[in-house]
């Protein structure tokens, strides 16, 4: 590498970092409690299932939906999702087919009694604030895409950091931290060392975060292309006045896909379905396949099976980006490692900022020194001129 290439990569590293650092610090700090959101929410959980005999028969999904609608009169069902380990479904209702999240209501319903266990509505509490700051800065889609762009800058900063790591480390062995020769050198070495050891984790969590910010446009694209192709004969049909049984729709979908289990049902008209169909999103039954969703479309007027297609690559990427970003797929030890790596990233960001400030001070001090060294001569010249 010539000095010129190094200087260019250093400039890229400096500017991409400077622009995104403050937002990345915010994302690292708000992300920290979000890693443990399951554990934190379990502390305040109110929806414990009352004990009942294990063989208590379950009510139908239609009765569960009716129970949710009775609580929120005038609303319509949007989603129904299944809890994994217990006979509970979560029914989302809202005033229209695609209301803002703030107008949606989520009821956790005991399928044995159709009694509402808890409402899972956003309460505006601490975790909600953390989530919104982390996802969209309370600014909706533009905020999401903005943070996605900041994530892309982080990727560029990381990449350029790796490039300029080479000239820094030419004479040093891996992991060298020179702690006894001034603060700046110590933090420079720590910045380089932490940056290079966390490289893969930062890149994966950063890029999957960027993919997650593209969720809204990606789902819209899927709906306009894949989904449109699946429901071509139904094009232009309005949302049915009355929906056929959701319970029957789920059974039809499961018969069409043996070995798969329903994860959630999107009601007609919502983002994840067509105007005329129940979309029953099925997942595989093994750990390796349970993240891969396949939507089965059931005619919401007649209850007939329409079509089922596996997701295109970009929806799969979106789907896999969630666990890889959240770190929620390997138990509590993985979450703790996620938190530690998050903290190390905060140190990298902070030290980068410090190094930028320290370097500016150094340059300014040098300039002042040069100026001081030059001034006696200047004074002398000025003195001569005055005489």
């Amino acid at each position: 590498m010539t000095n010129r290439t190094i200087r260019i990569w250093t400039l890229i590293h400096k500017w991409t970092s400077l622009i995104c650092t403050i937002f990345m610090l915010l994302l690292c700090l708000t992300g920290l409690p979000l890693i443990f959101h399951d554990e934190i929410e379990a502390l305040t959980a109110e929806d414990t299932l009352p004990p009942m005999p294990a063989d208590t028969p379950l009510k139908s999904l239609d009765e569960a939906v009716a129970s949710a609608l009775a609580t929120y009169p005038g609303e319509r069902p949007l989603f129904l999702s299944f809890d994994v380990d217990r006979p509970v479904v979560n029914v989302t209702t809202g005033p229209g087919a695609r209301p803002p999240v703030s107008q949606m209501h989520i009821s956790a319903i005991d399928l044995r009694t159709t009694r509402i266990l808890a409402d899972l509505n956003d309460d505006g509490g601490f975790m909600h604030v953390m989530l919104r700051l982390h996802v969209d800065l309370f600014a909706g889609l533009p905020g999401e895409l903005f943070l996605g762009f900041m994530g892309f800058l982080l990727f560029l900063a990381t990449l350029s950091g790796v490039v300029i790591y080479a000239p820094f480390m030419r004479k040093l062995s891996f992991g060298t931290v020179r702690a006894g020769r001034g603060r700046r050198l110590k933090w420079l070495d720590l910045h380089n060392m932490l940056g290079i050891v966390t490289l893969m984790w930062v890149v994966v969590v950063g890029l999957t975060g960027v993919i997650n910010t593209l969720s809204v446009p990606l789902v819209a694209y899927w709906r306009a292309n894949e989904l449109a192709a699946m429901i071509a004969p139904y094009e232009g049909k309005p949302v049915p006045e009355r929906f056929a049984s959701v319970d029957a729709a789920v059974r039809t979908a499961m018969e069409a896909a043996p070995g798969m289990r329903p994860q959630f049902v999107a009601f007609p008209g919502v983002r994840f379905s067509s105007n005329h169909h129940y979309a029953v999103w099925l997942r595989g039954a093994t750990p390796a396949t349970n993240r891969i969703l396949t939507p089965a479309l059931i005619d919401a007027e007649t209850g007939a099976f329409t079509d089922m297609r596996s997701m295109p690559w970009y929806m799969l990427a979106l789907r896999l980006s969630q666990p890889l970003h959240f770190g929620d797929y390997g138990g509590l030890p993985m979450k703790i490692l996620w938190a530690v790596l998050d903290l190390l990233t905060i140190v990298i960001l902070g030290s980068g900022l410090y190094l930028w400030i320290a370097r500016r001070r150094l340059v300014q001090a040098r300039r002042a020194q040069d100026h001081a060294a030059a001034s006696p001569g200047l004074r002398a010249t000025a003195g001569e001129a005055a005489e």
Binding site: M1, N3, I6, Y165, A166, P167, M169, R170, K171, S173, F174, G175, T176, V177, R178, A179, G180, R181, K186, D189, L190, M193, L194, I196, V197, T198, L199, M200, W201, V204, P287, A288, R291, L320, P323, L324, Y329, G330, G331, P333, M334, L337, V340, L341, L344
Partner: protein, 61 residues
């Protein structure tokens, strides 16, 4: 950046690449299965953290 110390890619990037690959294995393993594979993930994701701890403990004073 004197020409006397040439850039040796393996010396500079050998260990970092190894750590990155181990991290990648850790990130992917837990996606594929539950149980034992989770432990593989924990061990692999500990590697970058332990490298940082080792480096700090061996700092030159």
């Amino acid at each position: 950046m004197t020409p006397r110390t040439p850039f040796r890619p393996l010396a500079v990037f050998g260990i970092p690449v190894a750590i990155a690959l181990v991290t990648a294995v850790g990130l992917i393993a837990a996606l594929l299965d539950d149980g034992v594979v989770d432990a593989v993930s924990w061990a692999a994701l500990s590697v970058p953290v332990l490298a940082a701890v080792w480096s700090w403990r061996n700092r030159n004073r």
